[in-house]
Subunit: 210 residues, 2 copies
């Protein structure tokens, strides 16, 4: 079994990202960015629970923490899933295409792989949207000394969403099933809607508190 | 010697980030986000150099790659520097303050540590601004199949800049030397100026090409 990308050192992740290898690429970074956002929400919560001063929000913070930890692990898994999905596309591209039969077989495998490589960043985008929803409550209710970390969380979660969007869009451009592309485009539009405004809102709130 | 944070597995970085330990925190994420942006610019360049189709931009791309690789390593070093600077603040806070002498000694060490903890994210912000400047040329001149990666690069670099800004601002709030704070605030304002517009411009350019 090959080592999971998430189990490699940060420095090696960066080196493999910088290389011309097909994966990791932008999709993995989208998942990592979302996971960093989720981890920062968790950090704010962990700096808040058990503190007398924040006893009245303890229940809310614990609920936030449960969500952020779930999303952190989900996004870490999606990082690996994206590498696998992208590797499958890369392998399909290398299939022989000397005869009409080979061309047809390659096209079929390719289209299936591209659909999978669209589904994974769509799941990354969904998880990032869930992380985004946790940032304002973390900034408002969490430990005031960690409010800048809630601000960094929204920046990473929103960048993860938009990065996932770019990876969805580049794959949709190669998919022939128009019903599939229309449905995924619609889902993506819904996920993106209003999120840049939420980013600005949380960021401005945090700056005001600093 | 303790292990550098950058040499730990990505999964462990996320776990330590999520914990209530003082570092890593938002400052480390700012540096990592910038390094991810730089690595993605390098990836676009590495997918472009040596390709016949891009022979006419080979020289420009090689220059871009040299810059992006330098910035990737610089930001990886700054990630570690931020952990050290923040740990120093954290240790200063634990100094005794029973007597007036102890209080004065603690305040002095604290102010020095806070200044250092402001300088490091300022260097992170500067490096992120340099990464931001590489993204449009990477998107325009680089391998068209990797244009979405140039788009993810700008998202990560700009998020890194804004994250660094939040870490600078939170520290400036605790620094008593008004000449220092005014100067750093001025430097930060210059670094931030116009960057959200550059982000939108590169992102929109990339979306149009997908």
């Amino acid at each position: 079994m090959t080592e999971r990308l998430i189990d490699k050192p940060v420095s090696q992740f960066l080196t493999e990202l910088a290389s011309s290898a097909p994966a990791p690429g932008g999709g993995s970074v989208a998942a990592l960015s979302g996971a960093l956002g989720a981890a920062l929400v968790s950090m704010v919560c962990n700096l808040t629970v058990g503190k007398k001063r924040y006893a009245d929000v303890e229940k809310d913070i614990k609920a936030l923490l449960e969500n952020s930890e779930g999303l952190r692990h989900k996004l870490a898994d999606l990082l690996q899933a994206d590498v696998q999905a992208y590797t499958a596309v890369s392998q399909a591209m290398k299939m022989p295409r000397a005869t009409d039969e080979e061309k047809a077989a390659r096209a079929e495998v390719m289209q299936q792989a591209l659909k999978k490589a669209t589904e994974v960043p769509l799941q990354i985008a969904e998880a990032c949207v869930e992380v985004i929803a946790l940032c304002q409550p973390a900034a408002e209710k969490g430990n005031k000394n960690a409010v800048s970390d809630a601000g960094v969380a929204i920046l990473m979660a929103e960048a993860g969403l938009r990065s996932a969007a770019l990876n969805i869009l580049i794959n949709l451009g190669w998919i022939e099933d128009q019903r599939f592309t229309a449905e995924k485009q619609r889902q993506l539009d819904t996920l993106l809607e209003g999120k840049p405004a939420v980013r600005d809102q949380v960021y401005d709130y945090v700056v005001e508190k600093l």
